[in-house]
Amino acid sequence: MSILVYIESSEGAIKKTGHEGTSYAKALAEKMNCKVTALTINVSDTDSLKEYGADAVLQVTNADLKHFEASVYSNIIAQAAKEVSASVVVISSSADSKYMAPLLAIELNAGYASNVTDLPSSLSPFRVKRTVFTNKAFCDTTLQTDVKLLGLSNNSFGVHKNVGEAITTSFEPVLKPSSVQVDSVEKVVGKATIADADIVVSGGRGLKGPENWGLIEELADVLGAATACSKPVSDLGWRPHSEHVGQTGKPVATNLYIAIGISGAIQHLAGINASKVKVVINNDPEAPFFKAADYGIVGDAFEVIPKLIEKLKAFKAQSA
């Protein structure tokens, strides 16, 4: 019996979800009284995994795995799970992980719980808490299979320092041929994405037009945040579809979500509810978003944002 956690990386660097997944796996391993093995693909420096509690690392290095391909990656994780006789496999809720998870569940004959937000409340039966109805509710679910696959909701558990051994061994899986070919990848580099960022700055129709998005971008820059928008903003073509968040767009589970000129419709709130702290800036004190937010400013975005940028710059300079 052991726990396998799959560590996501980007350009060879471990992502925060990898450290969060390891922290979660370690806490679970303590309950189950077993070891945590982390699996990396094309990561050269695996040292940090030790600090979050990995006892062992299976390190895959293979130039043919340059691009993520769901059926190939899920097959590698299945091979690793068998290698360490994993009874629980932990992955993240990134777009890539959600893509391969159902394939992996089939390969492992594992019950799969996606959007898991906490440690199991009981091990036998194995009961976990996950979100349903696009974050409008939770449910308590029992996984009835021998092997369990858990997709951890991003930022739900957090990263926690632990002590592990992290003995690294290289692992050479057999690569399964795939007839799905990745032809090209277009990715913004050097900019935080909605999925990874700790802070997201989001604009709605209250910003009046695409020409005003410089303000949102500048605020995001100061905060090292990703930018997002409400659905009508992307429907109107002011911003790309990839920035549309909400029930029918991307989910946002970040530490700080700042909503500017967004009314707070139920479909918008559903998608961003999982964020820890919500700040709203809106000139209408009756905007429904104020009921869902932690902090709010009633005011005109065009006056508030420049001041906020200026004050934040001063704050950053002072705390640097």
Partner: protein
């Protein structure tokens, strides 16, 4: 080309989410049911294939009799026939096994499902169908074109998009982008009349077991009231975010 569109019958996005029977059942009272939004994009893209390249479209749902109104709506939009597998959709794997068993007997070139449903929202069914049947699979699919036997698909990834290609048969998890919202169709009178004559067959469930069981539902804890900060006092907001919320 034979296309199968998987249709999930879900509470409309404005629905209030409540639970009954000791929080073990979703409260259906006063709830309007609709085609899952992601599936509607998929069905509309299927119509595009039918009209521009020639295709037949079947829709399928795993559910009880109440989902038939949603299947009829799909027929009115333009699907040729509908199948309902008569079973309560117990979990993602159960639904996927039903659809996979049906497809094994009735092969398709293209199976379109949604990236995720807005109720159960596991994002499981399309990938599991592909996994069970060993078919090619692309999810978060924002564009799909088919030339002869070759599919080219775009997939939304964190921070961008990628282009993939593969031969048919293919399973996709679709979403907005497959078509635009303005392309979605509201069934017209003629469509509704025709839909009455189109076949809607009800099949018994295949032998399959779920992997998971939902014990209870619960709603997030009530929120504390928002703390309002004066627009003239932005320093206070920064102080709260830094010292109280610990997010700066």
């Amino acid at each position: 080309m034979k296309i199968l569109v998987c249709i999930s019958h879900v509470p409309d996005t404005t629905s209030k989410i409540n639970f009954v029977e000791n929080d073990t059942q979703f409260d259906q009272q006063g709830v309007q049911y609709v085609i899952n939004p992601n599936d509607e994009f998929g069905l509309t893209r299927a119509m595009w294939f039918k009209e521009k390249q020639g295709a037949s479209i079947d829709v399928i749902n795993v559910g009880l009799a109440q989902t038939e109104s949603t299947l009829r709506k799909c027929l009115a939009i333009g699907a040729d026939s509908a199948v309902r597998i008569d079973a309560e959709p117990l979990d993602g794997i159960f639904v996927a096994k039903q659809i996979a068993a049906y497809v094994q007997e009735n092969p398709y070139d293209l199976i379109i499902a949604g990236r995720e449903s807005i109720d159960y929202n596991g994002g499981m069914v399309p990938g599991m169908i592909a996994g069970i049947l060993g078919l090619n699979f692309v999810t978060n699919c924002t564009h799909l074109s088919i030339d002869n036997n070759k599919a080219t698909a775009e997939r939304e990834i964190d921070g961008g998009k990628e282009t993939l290609s593969c031969p048919l048969p293919l399973v996709i998890g679709g979403q907005k982008g497959l078509v635009e919202e303005s392309d979605l169709r509201i069934p017209n009178m003629r469509g509704i009349m025709q839909a009455r004559k189109k076949p809607l067959s009800v099949l018994p469930a295949f032998e399959a077991a779920p992997d998971t069981k939902i014990n209870t539902f619960y709603k997030p804890a009530e929120k504390e009231a928002v703390k309002l900060v004066d627009a003239k006092n932005i320093d206070e907001l920064i102080d709260l975010l830094h010292n109280e919320a610990n997010v700066l």
